[in-house]
């Protein structure tokens, strides 16, 4: 078996700072040209390109001894990178190590924000593009499909993706921990700034649909309310109408509190025991801290949300070694399995032929 001809070449956020990654970003046109060049040279028999803001990686199967050098040379010329510059930050693995790397990438273990989900979709897209271009063959098909299965297994059976790591998403997590389903939850967003908007969008993305806006600037309120599909409330009614809302997000630039603890207490008396979540995302704070002492009130400020996000990040980081172990076991199993399968020798296989049609997909990732 020639699985040891499977390789990965590229650069990632680990070694390439953002300025270098910007330079290495491969435009669609350049990527097509590189494929055409490699097809003409017959250097690789299979190829998939993973191109994200944190990494550019070429997964391929070598069809000749100088395959990796040819891919590197073609890539370097197209992005205008000097050989020594690329050599300093280059990622280069082959065989089992390349398989392990792909598994870790797909599972989010290798991501800048450990455990993030987006990379899984990006790896799938890279594979789908290779399939549609006809540059995925038996090795890439099998390795990528197994990578998807391994990534799903790790995300399901470990805490690598547990907890939210951004302030806006932590705020939504808190809302779900208190109210469960967010669809019937009434949300009041006080302030029309950026962080308030982000939080509102995060709440909407997880089912909250009863959103009301109020801020000191009527014009800005109306504009943002239209963008978010939300209702509006006059700023001066924010305390008297507090009883109608389950989640209140304070995100104004007001110099002092805009929500007094007494107003919160008054609203609570008319809420029949329903909890109230107050998210104070403003600095100086919008909500009087004494409100936190009221029964059934959950008050969180920016520091609280940041601390929860940091704790989640730490928890994810603590899972990395465990995940690597699980992924390595699966990669090793695949490696042994590939070794047992009789595959055509590279010199007997046709070189990369872009546009030869989709490769067969024997076993789809589950």
């Amino acid at each position: 078996m020639n699985a040891d001809l499977f390789f990965v070449l590229g650069a990632t956020h680990h070694d390439a700072p953002i300025a270098v990654r910007e330079k290495l970003a491969l435009a669609e046109e350049a990527e097509r040209a590189l494929h055409a060049e490699l097809a003409a040279s017959g250097a690789v028999s299979e190829l998939a390109v993973l191109n994200t803001c944190n990494r550019i990686e070429f997964y391929g199967v070598a069809a000749g001894s100088d395959a990796i050098a040819r891919v590197e040379d073609g890539f370097r010329r197209r992005v205008g990178c000097a050989p020594e510059e690329l050599a300093a930050i280059r990622l280069r693995r082959s065989g089992l190590e390349a398989i392990r790397h792909l598994f870790e990438v797909a599972a989010g273990v290798d991501s800048q924000m450990v455990g993030e989900n987006e990379i899984f979709g990006q790896v799938k897209d890279a594979y789908a593009a290779a399939v549609s271009r006809g540059t995925a063959g038996p090795v890439l098909n099998r390795v990528f499909q197994k990578a998807f299965q391994a990534a799903k297994h790790v995300r399901t059976h470990t805490a690598i993706s547990a907890g939210q790591v951004s302030v806006a998403n932590v705020a939504v997590d808190l809302a779900q921990n208190i109210f469960g389903d967010l669809a019937p939850v009434n949300v009041l967003l006080v302030g029309a700034g950026e962080i308030g908007e982000k939080t509102a969008r995060a709440l909407q993305s997880r089912g909250a649909c009863r959103l009301t806006l109020c801020s000191r600037s009527l014009e800005r309120t109306v504009t943002l309310a239209e963008t978010l599909g939300a209702g509006t409330l006059p700023f001066e009614h924010r305390e008297s109408r507090l009883v109608d809302f389950d989640v209140v997000v304070g995100a104004t630039a007001a110099p002092s509190h805009i929500l007094a603890a007494a107003a919160v207490a008054a609203a609570l008396r008319r809420r029949s025991g329903r909890p109230l979540l107050l998210l104070d995302l403003a600095l100086p704070r919008d909500i009087e801290p004494a409100a936190a002492g009221l029964a059934n009130v959950f008050l969180y400020n920016l520091d609280d949300l940041a601390a929860i996000a940091a704790e989640n990040r730490t928890a994810r980081a603590a899972e990395v070694e465990h995940c690597r172990q699980l992924l390595a076991e699966r990669a090793d199993f695949l490696w042994r399995d590939l070794g047992r399968r009789a595959m055509p020798r590279p010199e007997l296989r046709p070189p990369l032929l872009p546009g030869r049609g989709p490769a067969p997909q024997a076993d789809h990732p589950s």
Binding site: A159, G163, N177, G273, P275, F298, E311
Partner: protein, 281 residues
Amino acid sequence: MLAALTARQWMWAAGACYLAGFAAGAWALRRRGRPSGLIVYLLVAVGYLLQVFGLAERGRAVGGCPLGNAFELCQFTAWSAITLYLVVGVTFRSSVLGYFTAGLGAVLTLVSLAMPSWDAVRRAHAFGGNPWIEFHAALALFSYGVFALLALTSLLLLFRLHSLRARHLGGWFSLLPSVLDLDHISVRLLGAAVGLLAASLVVGAAYWLRDTSSVAAPKLLLTATVWLAAAIALGLRLRGRLVARTFAWTCVALFAVAMASLGAVNASRRPVPPPAAELRP
């Protein structure tokens, strides 16, 4: 061969199933996973079935509802709580509730089995041959089972509130249902407990009014107090006066008081040994 099993043997098997459900949940939590709702539910359901056989066997042997001593009361309370869980658990969709219920079932079943003195004697003619009094007792005990499940959901609510106050949302706290879900289910369980106990008291009162000397005053007072306390707690909760942590602790206390009152109720009867066949381990 199964037909030859005694009530206690059926109940040992039931306790083992509950314990297995609890162990399966604990194992999943230890591996930082989510307890499998289906596995725990199936183990609890099998245990429940075995306990039904055990209680039926004991009921056949004593010629009535098996509520004659501390052992039987514990078994019946566990059975009641599990009955509720098997109904509620499906709609509640909480694997953690199943895990805790399995633990409660295992404790009540196995501890009462492990205490031979609890089953050494049983009350003679506990219900005076009156099926209505037997119904009254069964209803009261069933309501105590509801209190047991209420205590569990209240404990989960306390854990959830603690996690929110302490800003720890990760780990096994992430498996807990939301505050609102736990609150809703607790209110419904408390309502069910108050309703069942009220029905039991009405049935008992109809009998007691005909012969006021038939029921010891402490028993009457304790049972009425438990019901009154639960009814007041429910009223305060519905009016929004008893919420969050205070409500949860009140529910836990109600279960403790209900269980404590069982001892006093049980002590007010004349004891005789249980059927000889049932004393086999």
